[in-house]
């Protein structure tokens, strides 16, 4: 459906580098990346608001690289919304409908319908500048949905919404996608990404780092950056080799830190250690695992499942533990503690 080939755009201080990707018909394509990665720029290039310096954009087999904005049939929900301040909510939402030869009653019906779905029916007569952040965001979404484009680009469309609204609108988007709407969606929210996307691209520093299904991307992250997005905080680039003193392989992180893991492979790759597999104790634990390290607590903060503790053992290690447990070992920032984890709790991904 949508195909980008070697799209590039250069500014002083930022370059979009040879972006090549394909979005299939009916895909729910999630674009994940840190702030300043180039996500919004990429969407605006696709929509035609920014002209790329090089590369080609194909939509439904037609080259649209130089097509005018209004002829692309691509809807974009802007990150900064770009609502029309002089039109009330009704006319904002109805804006894309008038030109389609809709009758005014038809337009009315559709606007009311969309407003209902997005929970903004009571705002139809109001003007955008007086709306709350989340209300504005829903108006912007409704307006682009009214366009009913062949490709829908969403730039963080739910960032200002509360949890309930988020869930509702996610459902709306999922339904839309199920009915065949192709969507490219930028988000920072991991849950949103896996709840909605069937394909995920990771973009960092103007370049695509990884593309695949959610399982592929988060199951086998190829950088600590991707791992961090997936919520995996303990992610290391390692090289492993047979160890002489153990049946496990030795994983070398850097000069100061090595640990053991279970693997049949050798060579370079990445290791992930789930946060809840890390055990923190006050005294050195028994020798049931080779992976025991002394360290210093450098941060503690509340977490959904208790507390998150950060320990410096040469690299930062993140652990989740119950608050009661933490109190039991008298750990606070600056405490000396022991960190341990099982050799087989570590996941190894070989570099390709």
């Amino acid at each position: 459906m949508l195909k980008l080939t070697n799209i590039s755009k250069r500014w002083e201080g930022f370059t979009l580098k040879d972006i090549t990707l394909t979005v299939g018909k009916g895909d729910y394509f999630i674009l994940l990346g840190p702030s300043g990665a180039g996500k919004s720029v990429l969407l605006e290039v696709i929509a035609g608001l920014i002209a790329p310096d090089g590369g080609d954009i194909t939509l439904n087999d037609a080259n649209i690289t130089h097509l005018k904005i209004q002829e692309r049939d691509i809807g974009l929900v802007f990150q900064d919304l770009a609502l029309f301040p002089h039109l009330n909510v009704h006319h904002n939402i109805g804006y894309p409908l008038y030109r389609k030869g809709y009758k005014s009653r038809e337009v009315n019906r559709r606007v009311v319908e969309l407003a209902q779905e997005l929970g903004i029916s009571h705002l139809l007569k109001r003007f955008p500048p007086t709306l709350s952040g989340g209300e504005q965001q829903r108006v912007a979404l409704a307006r682009t949905l009214a366009l009913n484009p062949s490709l829908l680009l969403l730039d963080e469309p739910l960032s200002s919404l509360d949890v309930e609204r988020k869930v509702e609108i996610r459902r709306l988007l999922r339904d839309l996608n199920r009915k065949g709407q192709t969507i490219v969606h930028v988000t920072h929210d991991y849950e949103e990404a896996i709840a909605l996307g069937n394909r995920i691209a990771i973009i960092n520093n103007g370049a695509i780092e990884q593309i695949g299904s959610p399982q592929e991307v988060f199951g086998k992250p190829t950088s600590s950056f991707v791992a961090g997005f997936g919520g995996v905080r303990n992610f290391f680039k390692i090289s492993i080799s047979k160890s002489e003193d153990s049946k496990f392989m030795k994983a070398r992180v850097n000069e100061n830190l090595s640990f053991y893991l279970q693997s049949d492979d050798e060579g370079n790759g990445y290791a992930m250690i789930p946060e809840n597999e890390i055990v923190i104790t006050h005294d050195k634990p028994g020798t049931e695992t080779l992976n025991t390290f002394p360290g210093t607590v450098i941060d503690i903060y509340p977490h959904r499942f208790g507390c998150e503790v950060v320990v410096d053992i040469g690299e930062k290690i993140f652990a989740i533990m119950a608050s009661t447990q933490l109190q039991a070992i008298h750990a606070s920032i600056g405490s000396k503690v022991w960190v341990s984890f099982q050799e087989n709790s570590t996941i190894f991904i070989k570099s390709s």
């Binding site: 035609g48 608001l49 209004q70 029309f84 366009l147």
Partner: protein, 260 residues
């Protein structure tokens, strides 16, 4: 905020300007007996010339706004080589001596020119016609509209126009539904300034058309023939009518925007 020191000093400075504008007007008001004003208001010659001035200037403003507003939009949106030169040229009619402007226009519309001949073919002589007056008014006043509208368009975020295009609107629709309404306030101000400047023109108008007499010509004529005593009530009347017209335009323009 209302009572901050800077606002007080601003109010003081602003008051001085208002005084500077109002005092000469009051001077005129006080030296004109009400009875003279009324009797002047009843002279058909005076009525006709004020009415003529208003409608020609308004027509000229409206007709030329159809040309000037698009130009203003282009100037606000695009840059091109020598743009500053073009901007400078647009300011020139303000500075051209008015009678020079009138003479230059004569060269346009007199019998021998294409335009003059074309009009002549329809048995219509431009010189001395309302059309000539309108052209003279437009020439000296059009920069004010272009400049105001240009600033108005420049303050409309391009991003909103692009958003409208993204929503499938044609550039024409974007212009009429987004750019124009958002620049509307500035454009109205520009229209008022052009309209007012056109009404006041004497030097250029008198060269292309002494008759029919627009108000400034009539006032000059009265001054010349009868002196200040007779010119003042006519001038004052003209000013008062203008005031009413301006207030009405602003009220209507703002209302229209609210309705839209």
């Amino acid at each position: 905020m209302k009572k901050s020191a800077i606002n007080l000093s601003f109010a003081f400075l602003g008051g001085l300007v208002l005084l500077f504008i109002v005092a000469p007007l009051l001077g005129m008001v006080f030296s004109t007996p009400l009875s003279t004003l009324f009797s002047t208001a009843q002279e058909t010659e005076v009525q006709q010339s004020i009415w003529l001035t208003i409608w020609i200037s308004m027509a000229s403003t409206l007709v030329f706004s159809i040309l000037a507003i698009p130009l203003a939009y282009l100037l606000a949106r695009y840059s091109f080589p020598l743009k500053n030169m073009v901007l400078g040229i647009i300011d020139l009619p303000i500075v051209i001596p008015h009678s020079a402007a009138g003479i230059a226009l004569l060269g346009f519309i007199s019998r021998d020119t294409v335009i003059g001949k074309a009009a002549g073919a329809f048995g219509f002589n431009l010189i001395g016609s309302p059309v000539a007056i309108a052209l003279a008014m437009a020439f000296v006043s059009i920069p004010f509209l272009i400049n105001a509208a240009r600033e108005g368009f420049a303050s409309v975020p391009v991003r909103l126009e692009k958003a409208a295009l993204n929503l499938g609107a044609s550039p024409a629709r974007v212009f009429f539904t987004i750019s124009l309404p958002l620049a509307w306030r500035s454009i109205v101000t520009g229209l008022v300034m052009m309209f007012a400047r056109g009404m006041s023109e004497f030097g250029a108008v008198v060269i292309v058309a002494y008759h029919p007499m627009v108000a400034p010509v009539l006032i000059f004529d009265r001054f010349n023939a009868f002196g200040l005593k007779y010119a003042r009530p006519a001038a004052l009347l003209f000013i008062l009518v203008s005031l009413v017209v301006f207030i009405t335009i602003r009220l209507l323009a703002v209302k229209r925007k609210k309705d839209a």
